[in-house]
């Protein structure tokens, strides 16, 4: 088995349009959640979200590209460029032939569906633009990354709701670890902040109208976000041989399925994924210093997640730190694990633990150090990143500092 390291990272989300900007915001405990701005927002009962501001397609992409790139693809391409530029890799020859792209998204081109349904149903138009299908398809982003960067190996899209990017990154990790690919571009993206996208979530009655306060006793639901997180996973010897700057090592993963309920999370399913990731990485629970929580801010997730962590870690649960950065950037659904991986990298590389902001009241059912409201300096060797999706599909990644 080969060792796998991260040699590039890119993002765009409500906290920043790059990794450095996002990490500064996380360190300062900034909140990227605010009033939503798009057509018909006044007809929604949920009017807040972690919306990406100041990102206009015009100027970044030409007319032809805009006709083919949904916003989730635009986010992906922007973040992928940052990640691949940082890695310093240029894909040609054997490297290009074997390297690919595995990305996560839950909804794909949601605003393209929304705009075109509106056009045919509400406006009564009888034709849509010829590229609606290639624009909205869930694999559009992965395909455009492969085309733009000449990645000719295995590429596909994983869709497991809120765990999509963790499942995607786990898959990419496995491909590099087993020697199938020398490098993989991976992560995920989501752009559901349009009328239909938020309306659908409203229906579930799990959304907060004012803030995302994970683990706080007065939490009242989740808040949607949007954006992308993209990484370059590379085989260690390949990265080391070319003198690449290594951000951290990916040491293990596990996936599990609750096989229980389509929306209610299961402590056992979460615990099996957390335990499995440590077992796969060959580490002891005591080595884990930080967990980036799934931490959605819903009543159900947060207490279930804390109970799972308590079960898996026993007494060590009192010593480790677990924060939810969704309090700052919102829940990026299929892209969330990718953006959240950045907080693990910050913990391992910079020794800074991102806080859970908006924390107001301790909840006895979430009796864990959630790094409330302010970032903390701490030396961490191993970090985990949790994602537990609707449908009971869980994926946890384990990372180590290098």
């Amino acid at each position: 088995m080969k060792r796998v390291v991260v040699t590039g990272a890119g993002t765009i989300n409500s906290l920043g349009h790059s990794v450095p900007a996002t990490l500064v915001a996380m360190r300062e405990g900034k909140c990227g959640i605010g009033d939503l701005e798009f057509r018909d927002v006044d007809r929604l009962s949920i009017k807040i979200g972690g919306q990406v501001r100041g990102f206009e397609a015009e100027g970044r992409f030409n007319r032809q590209q805009i006709s083919l790139y949904d916003r989730f693809t635009q986010f992906t391409l922007t973040a992928a460029k940052e990640a691949i530029d940082q890695s310093g890799l240029e894909f040609g020859g054997e490297l290009a032939a074997k390297s690919g792209v595995v990305l996560g998204t839950a909804g794909g081109g949601v605003s393209t569906w929304d705009d075109n349904y509106r056009s045919v149903y509400e406006d009564g138009k009888n034709r849509v633009h010829p590229f609606v299908v290639p624009k909205l398809m869930n694999n559009a982003a992965a395909s455009h990354v492969s085309m733009q960067h000449n990645l000719k190996g295995p590429s596909f899209t994983v869709s497991t709701a809120c765990a999509s990017s963790n499942h995607a990154m786990a898959q990419a990790f496995q491909m590099v670890r087993t020697g199938l690919a020398p490098a993989m571009v991976t992560g995920g993206s989501e752009s559901m902040l349009c009328f239909g996208g938020v309306k659908a979530w409203e229906g579930l009655r799990v959304m907060s109208k004012d803030a995302c306060r994970p683990f706080s006793a007065n939490r009242n639901g989740m808040v949607q976000g949007e954006g992308a997180g993209i990484f370059v996973f590379e085989e260690y010897e390949h990265a080391h041989g070319r003198g690449a700057d290594i951000l951290c090592e990916v040491i293990g993963f596990a996936m599990s399925s609750d096989a229980a309920d389509i929306v209610m999370p299961s402590k056992h399913g979460a615990a099996r994924a957390i335990f499995g990731a440590m077992k796969d990485a060959g580490i002891n629970p005591e080595e884990v210093g930080y967990i980036n929580a799934h931490g959605t801010g819903t009543a159900a997730n947060d207490k279930t997640e804390c109970a799972a962590v308590a079960d898996v870690f026993g007494q060590h649960a009192d010593k480790l730190m677990m924060s939810s950065t969704k309090s700052m950037h919102g829940h990026l659904i299929g892209g969330t694990g990718a953006v959240e991986l950045l907080s693990c990298i910050m913990a391992l590389r910079d020794g800074v633990i991102a806080p859970t902001i908006g924390y107001q009241e301790p909840d006895p059912e979430c009796a864990i150090d959630v790094v409330p409201n302010e970032a903390r300096d701490a030396k961490v060797e191993v970090a985990l990143s949790n994602a537990f999706a609707f449908g009971g599909l869980n994926a946890v990644l384990a990372l180590r500092s290098v």
């Binding site: 006709s67 009888n126 034709r127 633009h129 010829p130």
Partner: protein, 84 residues
């Protein structure tokens, strides 16, 4: 604007050219418009003239709409517009 000048500007925009680069004798191939571009042009023309063009991208030659050059497209459009 006449049908001809509207078609010239639609094709020019698609081909990243100026309208005066388009002539009645030009073929879509000469203008550098590929098969995806043809479908976009048909869409833009339908939108502009509020017509439905009988065109199947699988069999462009067997469609009732003749796209062999700009002049043939314009006469096809004129026929469809006059039917409306």
């Amino acid at each position: 604007m006449s049908i001809q000048s509207k078609v010239f500007s639609i094709l020019a925009e698609q081909a990243f050219l100026e309208p005066f680069d388009v002539t009645l004798e030009s073929t879509l191939d000469e203008l550098g418009i590929d098969s995806m571009g043809v479908v976009e042009c048909i869409f833009a023309i339908e939108e502009e003239f509020d017509i439905t063009i009988p065109f199947n991208a699988n069999e462009p030659q067997r469609s009732d709409f003749d796209i062999s050059n700009v002049a043939s497209m314009i006469s096809g459009i004129e026929a469809l517009v006059s039917k409306n």
